[in-house]
Structures are given as C-alpha cells and as structure tokens.
C-alpha cells in the first residue's frame, strides 16, 4: 500500500513540478515521474493480480466522506495497470509531441498539471471504496480531461468541443451523484461494503440503481446513444491526450459498471439483456459511423465506441451467465470483456499515437489529403498497420484473442436451455461478425488511403519519420499486441483473479478452462506462422535471380494519370454507406456543373450522428424554445417587476384562504 501511495504522490507532485518547471524540464520531469510511479505500482498490482492478498488502507476523513477505505482488489489492480502504463506512455510520447507547443509555456504547464491530475484521479477512483471520494475523483477526472481537451483553446471548435464534453460529463455525473446519494442515504454510510449489503437486501432497488449507474457510467464509457461527446472531444484533444482518453479514461466507465456488478451480485435477467443489446447497438453504430468519417481522429473516436460496445457485450454476456446461472457464459463473457479492455487500450493507443505522428508531420487530420505516407514514415506505418489488424480482430494479434472468447461464449450460449439466451447469442454472434468485417472495411480504408498509394495533395515539406520518443510507446504496445496475439495464455494468470472475483463460484475452473480453450488456437496460430514462413521462402526462392521490373501502375491505357486519380476514402466507403444510409444521416451539398464549359462544380458530404440528429438536437431545440418563453420576465419595467411579487402574493393568499 505504501508503494501505491508513493506512486500516487509521485504522479501528483510530478504534475505540480512539471507545471512549475521551465522549458523542457517539465516534459522530462513528467516522463520520469510517471515512469517511476508505474514501476512503483507494478509490484502490488502484480501480486494482487496473481492471487496475493488484497491490500487495504482505511482513512478517517472529514464529513461527509467519513471512513474511506482504499482497497486494491484484482479488479482495481487490473485497471491500475492500464492507467499507470497508459499514463506513462502518453507522458513519454508528449516529450516530443508537445515540443511543437513550447511557445505556449503556460499552456504546457497546465497541460502537464492536468495530465498528471487525470492519471492520479483515475488511480484513486479505481482503488477507493467510498462513494463520496469516488465521486470527487470522478469529477476531478472529468475536470482534468476537460482542460486537456481544450488545450488548443485558441480555436473556436476546440472550445465548443471542450464545453460539450464538460457538460456531457456533468450530465452523466448527475446520474452517478443521484445514485450514490440515494445509496448512501439507504445505507447510512458512504462505504461500498454497506452498499452491497443494501443491494442484497432488496432486489427492486438494485434494479433501479443499476439503471442509474448504467446511464452514468455509460455516458463516460460512450455507449450509444450517450456517446456524442466522444467524436467531438477526441479530435479536439492533442493526440497523447486522445490516446489516454480513448485507451484509458473511458474504461473507467467500464470499471464503474463492473464495480457495481461486483457489489450487486447476480443481476436481473432483463438488465443483462439490456446491457448486452445496448452494447451490441453501440458496437454496430460505432463502426458504421467510423466508416463514414474522414477525420482520422473522429474515425478512431467512433471506433472506440465500437470497442466499448464489444466490451459491453462481454459484460452483458457475463451478466447473462450470472442471471441464468451458467458459469461458462459468465467466465467467458467477463474474460472476453477484460481481455478486450486491455487489448483495446493497446491498439487504440497505438492508433492515436500514429494519428498524432501524421498530424505532427503533415498538419492535417483529413485522410483525403494524405496518401503514400508509408514511404515517408515506414515505422509509423508498420505499427499503425499492426494496430489496424489487431483492432479488426484478425488472428495472430490480440484483438482476435478477446473476440474469440466472446464468440465462444456466445456459441456456448447457443447450447443453453432458454430461448432468450439462444436468440441473444446468435444475434450477438451475427452482430459481432458484422462489426468485425465493418472494422476490416474501415481500417483497410483508413490505412490504405492515408499510408498507401501516393499522396493526394502535395505535402508542404516531405514528412519525416516519427522520432524515437513517439515510436517507443507505439513499439512497446505493438510488442504487447503481437505477444498476446501469438500466445494468449500469458494473460490468463493475470486474468484469473479478476474474472474470478467477478464470476464468483465459477472461478476455480477458469484458468484451466481458458487454457483448454486456447491451446488448439495457439497450435493453429503456430501452424499459420509456419505456413506463412514457408510461403515466403517459396516466393523468394522462386523470385531469386529473376528480373523485377519497376513500372508505373496499370493505367488502363490512360496516358496522364495523376495522384488525384486514386480512389478516395469517401468513394471507398460509398458502396457500403449506400447500404446503411438509413442509419447514417449525411448532409450533402452538391453544386452541379452548369453549361458546356462548367466553371466550378463541387460536392461535399458531411456525416452526422444519428443520436445527435434524432435525439439531442431536437431536445436542445425544444429547450431553447421553452426558455424563450421566459424572455418577457426581464422587460425592464419597474411596475411589472413589482406586479410579479404582488400576483405571487395574491395567489398564495387565495391558496391559504382556500384552506391550503
């Protein structure tokens, strides 16, 4: 525990120091402190994850917090690892990335202060067992991330995004505050342990509470339709921040859900189904929108929604297992969810770092303006490719590992007795498959268009390869991606305790079960590796001392092909989008060519978010209308002002005389 406290202190003080330091010192301090705290946190995390006893510390704080328990149980440890690692990597990446902003000394100080505050608050919130402190940490997290998102606040749209983000977070937090306030009232204490007693006392309560918590945490995690802040906030933030937001912070919403589940015990069947279906919809919706995007970071943001959906499906599956008493489902569901939590952290971070490199070198986020980058930044491109493969859930990389558990879980769900589960499982399988192929389409598109072919617009200057500061985090994570992908079992020892704590009685079998499940997969993947190796050898042997002529691309006889001839991302996605038009509202502006010699003709299409179009914009419109009704109040006329009071008085008196 002392190590943990030391780590926390280090992160926080590191932020303060980095904020105070001049010049490059700040960036260095931040990198070092985050690394140190990561290393400090490792031993306890490791021991707890591998079955060591859970560390606990009790603190008597002032009202209304009261007794505050800090507990590192497997669940907490699991998320701590992600937070600490992600925090350090982002700080490390910032070393070079943030150098571009070094004129803005004040901004940088704020950046580092809030970056560290974000990490620290997330660490606190996963280990604290006290509702009030949890909320405080939660709000601090939102606040810190808000300041990070609005780092480039000189830009109008960044400010708008930041505000939208903050407000959305507060709206979500409102549900949490309400839920926790109610629980603390019921339990007469802020301590989670008491909460769980209350939950177990009456089930009806836990039903409603779970709904509240689901909305609150879902808004943070980005479940449809509460996701609308993601595609705004992520592009606005600097890339290392986007990485930490998408890779780490939204997972705190997942953590919250799991924590509540842990407190609540087996959920209602309806809840499990709801979670499962909402997640499925989020997954489909997220990736569909991702396909429609041109802004690479917006695209990644939507793909985060998709992956949160996949994680949620895992959780829903686990809940189904609990609700229907099928340990197999529970274990596979939760394992899949947790695996995907970690995997998504790895490849999504790499992708955002990669997008950051592109932005830093080419100064655009619009993939239509890119192309052929692989020749300028081969390493970045390769790592980006690896992450793209992983996020599409393709085998031999870690994305497949998590999804395999989910698929397998749902397949076993098919064998269950109750039609409901069977139906959900099959819908889930089909949906997950659909998500998978759409991800393939999406990421072949983004990688192909931005890194392959030739650049569609002339670059201002030849973009260079990313610096080591940027490559190292990406490389490190990519190693994890490949490692887990090739040999999934290395994760099981760390998974066992967490899933065990979630799945309850189904725990002991877990590790062996997963082992049995994955052993043949490992063999098959090994075989695959051999096959590939063989084929490559064959190919190169065939091509040895053969002539390899380099020529221009086949142009179908057309003599002057330009780089603008390439297929654009929009046209690549067009056939698919024409199929899904119903759920992807797009605003199109077409200027038709006129006359024999058309002067100018243009066509632009901007994808819009369904939830925004059908839900939030109309609501806001209504709200504005409603508030518009009040404008007459402040008319400036003294007599009216007095009249209000008199009328009010009159009404009250009438009410009283009327026997109120």
């Amino acid at each position: 525990m002392t190590l943990v406290l030391a780590g926390l202190g280090l992160v926080f003080s590191g932020g303060a120091l980095a904020a105070l330091a001049k010049g490059n010192a700040g960036r260095l301090i931040s990198t070092i402190t985050t690394l140190a705290s990561f290393l400090l946190l490792l031993p306890p995390i490791y021991s707890v994850l591998t079955g060591g006893e859970t560390r606990q510390m009790v603190l008597q704080w002032s009202e209304p917090a009261g007794m505050v328990r800090f507990v590192i149980d497997p669940l907490a440890a699991f998320f701590m690892f992600i937070i600490a690692l992600g925090g350090w990597l982002s700080a490390f990446y910032s070393m070079d990335y943030m150098r571009a902003y070094r004129e803005d000394a004040q901004g940088l100080s704020a950046y580092y202060f809030f970056l560290h505050l974000l990490i620290a608050s997330m660490l606190v919130l996963v280990i604290v067992q006290n509702a009030f402190v949890f909320l405080v940490a939660w709000e601090l997290m939102s606040l810190a991330s808000f300041f990070l998102v609005s780092f480039e606040n000189g830009k109008e749209e960044v400010r708008k995004a930041g505000l939208y983000y903050l407000v959305a977070m507060q709206a979500g937090a409102a549900f949490l505050i309400a839920a926790f306030a109610f629980m603390s009232f019921k339990a007469g204490s802020m301590d989670f342990a008491r909460f769980s007693e209350v939950f177990h006392q009456d089930a009806g309560l836990s039903l409603w509470m779970f709904l509240l918590f689901f909305v609150g945490f879902g808004a943070k995690a980005g479940f449809f339709p509460l996701h609308t802040w993601l595609p705004l906030a992520h592009p606005a933030a600097p890339s290392p921040v986007s990485a930490i937001l998408s890779g780490v912070m939204i997972k705190t919403g997942i953590y919250g859900l799991l924590r509540i589940l842990l407190l609540m015990g087996p959920p209602e069947k309806g809840l499990a189904m709801m979670v499962f279906l909402v997640s499925l919809v989020s997954g489909l919706f997220g990736v569909m929108n991702a396909i429609a995007q041109r802004d690479i970071k917006k695209l990644l943001a939507y793909s985060s929604i998709e992956n949160i959906g996949i994680i949620g499906m895992g959780i829903g599956l686990g809940m189904l297992g609990q609700a229907y008493g099928q340990p197999g489902l529970t274990v596979l569901g939760f394992s899949g969810a947790l695996l995907h939590v970690f995997n998504h952290f790895t490849f999504k971070s790499v992708l955002f770092y990669g997008a950051g490199v592109v932005y830093a070198r080419v100064h655009t986020r619009n993939i239509e303006d890119l192309g052929g980058l692989i020749r300028f930044m081969p390493w970045t491109a390769t790592l980006f490719l690896i992450a793209s493969l992983a996020i599409s859930g393709l085998p031999a990389l870690n994305g497949f590992v998590g999804e395999f558990a989910l698929y397998y879980g749902m397949a076993t769900g098919l064998l269950s007795a109750s039609p409901g589960v069977i139906l959900l499982s099959l819908v889930g399988i089909a949906g997950l498959a659909f998500i998978g192929v759409m991800a393939v389409l999406c990421f072949t598109n983004v990688f192909g268009v931005s890194f392959l072919g030739v650049n569609r617009r002339p670059f201002a200057h030849a973009p260079g390869e990313a610096s080591g500061w940027m490559l190292l985090p990406m490389g490190l994570l990519s190693v994890l991606i490949v490692l887990i992908g090739l040999y999934p079992p290395i994760t099981f020892p760390f998974l066992q305790q967490v899933v065990g704590s979630l799945a309850g009685e189904a725990a002991p079998a877990l590790r062996t079960e997963l082992g049995v499940l994955y052993a043949p997969v490992v063999r098959a993947i090994g075989l695959f590796a051999l096959i590939l190796l063989g084929l490559f050898l064959l190919r190169s042997w065939m091509l040895r001392n053969k002539r390899i002529a380099v020529f221009k691309t086949w142009d179908c006889g057309y003599q002057a092909p330009g780089s603008r001839f390439q297929y654009t991302a929009s046209s690549f996605a067009a056939p698919f989008l024409s199929l899904t038009r119903a759920v992807l509202p797009v605003t199109r502006r077409l200027l038709r060519p006129q006359g024999l010699f058309p002067e100018d003709a243009s066509f632009e299409s901007r994808p819009r978010d369904l939830a925004d179009v059908v839900l939030f914009s109309p609501l806001l419109g209504l709200l504005r209308k409603f508030f518009g009704l009040f404008t007459w109040i402040q008319s400036g006329k003294t007599q009216r002002y007095i009249l209000y009071g008199l009328v009010f008085l009159l009404l009250v008196i009438i009410w009283i005389v009327g026997g109120g």
């Binding site: 003294t638 007095i642 009249l643 008199l646």
Partner: protein, 211 residues
C-alpha cells in the same frame, strides 16, 4: 368620531385616484398625516406615554408637515405639473378603487366576526389603503408619483399597525421612522438625479437594463 376620521382617510385615497395634479397628492398626504394625528389623539389610549408622544410627533410633524413640505419643494423645483395619462384610465381606476374601498369595509365586518382582537374599521380601511396604493403603483407612470404612493402605502401600513394596537417598542418605532425618512430622502435624491439625467421623469425611461 374615530370612525369618521378613518372614513375620511379612506376617502382621501379615493381623491388621489380622482386627482391628477401632483400637488393634490401631496396635500392628501399631509391631510392624512393630520387625520392620523387626530386619530392617535382621540382613540389610542392603551399605549405608554413615550410611545404615545412619539406617535403624536411622528404623525403631526413628520407625516403631516416635514415630508409633504419636502416633496412640495421637489416638485416645485422640477416644475412637475400633473400625472401623465396612466396605464389604466382615471375612470376605471377610480371604479376599482371604490370597489377596493367597499371590499375594505367587507373586511372590516369579516374581522368583526372572527374577532381577532383588531379594530374592525381600522383594519378594513387600512387594507383597502394598502391594496389601492399598490394598485396605484402599478398603474401610475410618473416617478415622483411613485414616491408619493410609497408614502401612501406607508400610511396604510401605519393605520394597520394602529388597528392591531400592538405596541412596538420605542426604539423599533424610531428605527422604522428613521428608515421611512431616509427612504423618502434617498428616493427624492435619486428622483432629482433621474430628472436631471434622463429626459422626463416618466417611469418608462428606466428600461435600459433588460435581457
């Protein structure tokens, strides 16, 4: 005797509704002050001497003489003649005022029934005074008129307090009087400034600040 005085006070209010010359209002004010003085002299007996004399002083000196004179000087200085056309025409406002007045009598009888230990007529009339002055505030447009009506309102409240005859401690009375006095004083000062700064002392010039 006392009833007569009180009815006079009430009717003086009606006169305010009827009249449109500012000076007339002020005269009414001082008249009311005088009537109060007589009322206190004639009817109030269960007070201790200090309060009694204080009341006499307040009614005669302050309400009947000082404040009216003060206000008179103001309107003379700013040569304000009559009230401009109010939001509600003289006729209707008079109509309403008389209704309020009658309602006041109704209140009086009602208070007689519930016998809450208050002097019925005082009560009824004072209520009608208060209500009608609030009505005036809402319908009249001249800023100076508002000051005067504020005084009338205070008079109504004064009568109400008499109706209860629940004696306030001296220092409280002093405080109340002080507030009243300073209030009027400030109102007048600001009125003068408004008169100087804005064109016209019409209440609607004061609608710069709005959302």
């Amino acid at each position: 005797m006392t009833d007569l005085l009180i009815v006079f006070i009430g009717t003086s209010m009606l006169y305010v509704f009827a009249a449109s010359r500012i000076e007339a209002y002020i005269k009414t004010l001082s008249l009311q002050g005088l009537l109060f003085f007589l009322l206190v002299l004639a009817d109030i007996d269960e007070l201790n001497d200090v309060n009694f004399f204080f009341l006499l002083f307040e009614t005669l000196v302050i309400k009947a003489l000082v404040i009216p004179y003060f206000l008179l000087r103001v309107i003379r200085k700013n040569e304000i003649g009559r009230e401009v056309e109010p939001y509600l025409s003289q006729f209707y406002s008079l109509l309403i005022a008389s209704m309020v007045f009658i309602a006041g009598f109704g209140m009086a009888f009602w208070s007689l029934e519930i016998a809450a230990g208050i002097k019925p007529l005082y009560f009824g009339v004072s209520i009608s005074l208060i209500v009608s002055s609030l009505l005036l505030i809402v319908i009249r447009k001249r800023i100076i008129t508002h000051i005067l009506i504020y005084m009338l309102l205070e008079n109504g409240i004064f009568l109400l307090s008499l109706s209860v005859a629940n004696e306030m401690p001296v220092m409280v009375n002093v405080g109340i009087l002080l507030d009243l006095f300073v209030g009027i004083y400030l109102l007048v000062i600001f009125f003068n400034k408004i008169h100087a700064m804005f064109d016209g002392s019409h209440i609607d010039v004061l609608t710069e600040l709005r959302d």
